[in-house]
């Protein structure tokens, strides 16, 4: 058996422990200790989990791709468990984790900049691309993708609650067809083939650009994650116009 210390950054605290605790237990681990606290970057959840070494990779994969997780670090707990007992780390959004302990790590978003931009995006919605392009250039390079992902998740969740929440609970194919597709079409030209969405001429993914469809991935995760809850929705970038192909393709699964 191994003990794993997991540190997670999320955009909000509500329900974080319940959602991710369930995921830990479902992965065959037991939750030994946990702590949730808030700082200027968002809500942090630190968990000490215990389970078999064979299940570690699966747990890390599930946590890393969970729609509540903005940033994630997992490391083996050594004798004494000193890390957990320590005070909340005084990390910055751009370098939240000590490099020596990182097994799976995603750069943290510039939460402050995203938070300040979101109300303006809500006001101008669906004409949001000037805001996103401005943010893309303003944030540090290592925080760019995570910031676009966060902005996408928050926007997707907001649009879902505003325009699509009322109605029956649908399966994934119907959710894509009835909710994701019409919502995406208010922003860009999109075609659907089964569980794949093809975005034509995405303004965020111009050839040689840098966003990598992260905004739309987050948008779909936020929107469909809320619709499909408690199931987790995953969005995978198959290819992006910025890398020279004709369009952007995203695949949705749960």
């Amino acid at each position: 058996m191994i003990e794993l210390e997991v540190k997670i950054l999320s955009d909000r605290r509500e329900g974080l422990l319940v959602e991710l605790g369930r995921l830990v237990v479902a992965s065959g681990f037991t939750l030994q200790r946990q702590r949730v606290y808030q700082d200027s970057h968002g809500a942090w959840l630190v968990m000490i989990t215990r389970g078999s070494p064979e299940a570690r990779l699966a747990l890390e994969e599930q946590l890393a791709t969970h729609n509540r997780v903005l940033s994630f670090e997992a490391s083996l707990v050594e004798e004494g468990g000193a890390t957990f007992a320590a005070a909340p780390p005084a990390s910055t959004p751009r370098a939240p984790f000590p490099a020596s302990s990182i097994s799976t790590n995603h750069a943290a978003p510039d939460v402050r900049r995203v938070e300040s931009m979101l109300p303006q995006m809500a006001r101008d919605y669906p004409k949001i691309f000037p805001w996103l392009l401005a943010m893309e250039h303003e944030v540090a390079a290592e925080a760019r993708e995570a910031s676009l992902l966060l902005a996408g998740r928050r926007t997707g969740l907001w649009v879902f609650k505003r325009d699509y929440e009322i109605g029956g609970k649908l399966g994934l194919p119907d959710t894509i067809k009835r909710i994701a597709l019409p919502a995406m079409r208010t922003l860009v030209t999109v075609d659907q083939r089964d569980r794949q969405l093809f975005i034509q001429n995405s303004p965020l993914c111009s050839p040689g650009g840098r966003s990598g469809c992260k905004f739309f991935s987050g948008y779909l995760e936020g929107m469909l994650g809320a619709s499909m809850a408690p199931q987790t929705v995953f969005v995978r970038n198959l290819h992006c116009r910025s890398s020279g192909v004709g369009d952007c393709a995203l695949e949705i699964s749960h």
């Binding site: 928050r154 009322i166 029956g168 609970k169 019409p182």
Partner: protein, 247 residues
């Protein structure tokens, strides 16, 4: 339709308008049932939607349509059976909407909900017709009775599918228009199945104590007023909620 039945077409059109208004109110209340946070909220939403559908869309429509129909002789309605017909419609519609709004969408669930609603519409109609008191023998063409039941069930299933499976204007308006077809289609097919034979002018016992058109008119006006107020309140609450959702 038998030769001695004639219709006031303005009231026939009004009966469809009332059934659509009631269906719209009911389905707008029903589609938020999945968002209820407590069992109490859910129960209240189910009963409110069931009342709007059963009493508004079905019962009120039925009696406007009965006022539209001139059978060539005086007619009154048994008060107990008339009240019971409203309760049947309310109960069956509440059950149907509770089934349709529970958990994730599935075809068996939709079919069960549609059958409940269809039986509610049909049960209300034929109980309402059993309440009719007039100086004649009455009977039914059973083929048309079966047809009216099928119309009610199929159109209810379509309306519930539109309401719970779609989003946007088609969900809001389309479902109510189709549910109106379910209610009216069933009613007027049921009326075509209704046969009247002379009995020599013998009035049934209790005829004079029955409800007349003017009594029903007041009740229908009250129901319509409640439906209109409910629609306005729903619209206002939705707009208010939409404005408070922060990004």
């Amino acid at each position: 339709m038998l030769a001695h039945q004639s219709y006031n077409m303005l009231l026939v059109a009004l009966s469809y308008v009332i059934s659509v208004l009631g269906s719209f109110t009911a389905l707008q209340l029903a589609v938020v049932i999945p968002l209820a946070r407590t069992a109490r909220e859910r129960t209240a939403a189910v009963f409110a939607a069931g009342a709007a559908m059963g009493v508004g869309a079905i019962w009120a429509m039925h009696f406007i349509a009965m006022l539209a129909c001139d059978m060539g002789m005086p007619v009154s309605y048994d008060p107990m059976l008339t009240a019971l017909s409203a309760i049947i419609a309310f109960g069956a519609c509440s059950l149907g909407l509770a089934i349709a709004s529970s958990g994730a969408f599935s075809w068996p669930k939709l079919a069960a909900a549609g059958i409940c609603m269809g039986l509610g519409v049909t049960g209300m109609h034929y109980l309402g017709m059993a309440a009719v008191m007039m100086g004649a023998y009455t009977s039914y063409d059973m083929n048309l009775v079966a047809t009216s039941l099928i119309i009610a069930i199929v159109a209810s299933i379509v309306a519930l599918w539109l309401a719970f499976n779609l989003r946007g204007p088609l969900q809001m308006i389309g479902s109510a228009l189709v549910m109106g077809i379910a209610v009216c289609g069933m009613h007027y097919t049921g009326m075509a199945a209704f046969k009247v034979d002379e009995n020599g002018g013998q009035m049934p016992a209790g005829f004079s104590g029955g409800l007349r058109g003017e009594n029903l008119g007041t009740s229908i006006f009250a129901v319509t007023l409640v439906l209109l107020v409910a629609v306005l309140l729903i619209h206002y609450k939705r707009q208010q909620r939409r404005a408070t959702i922060s990004i």
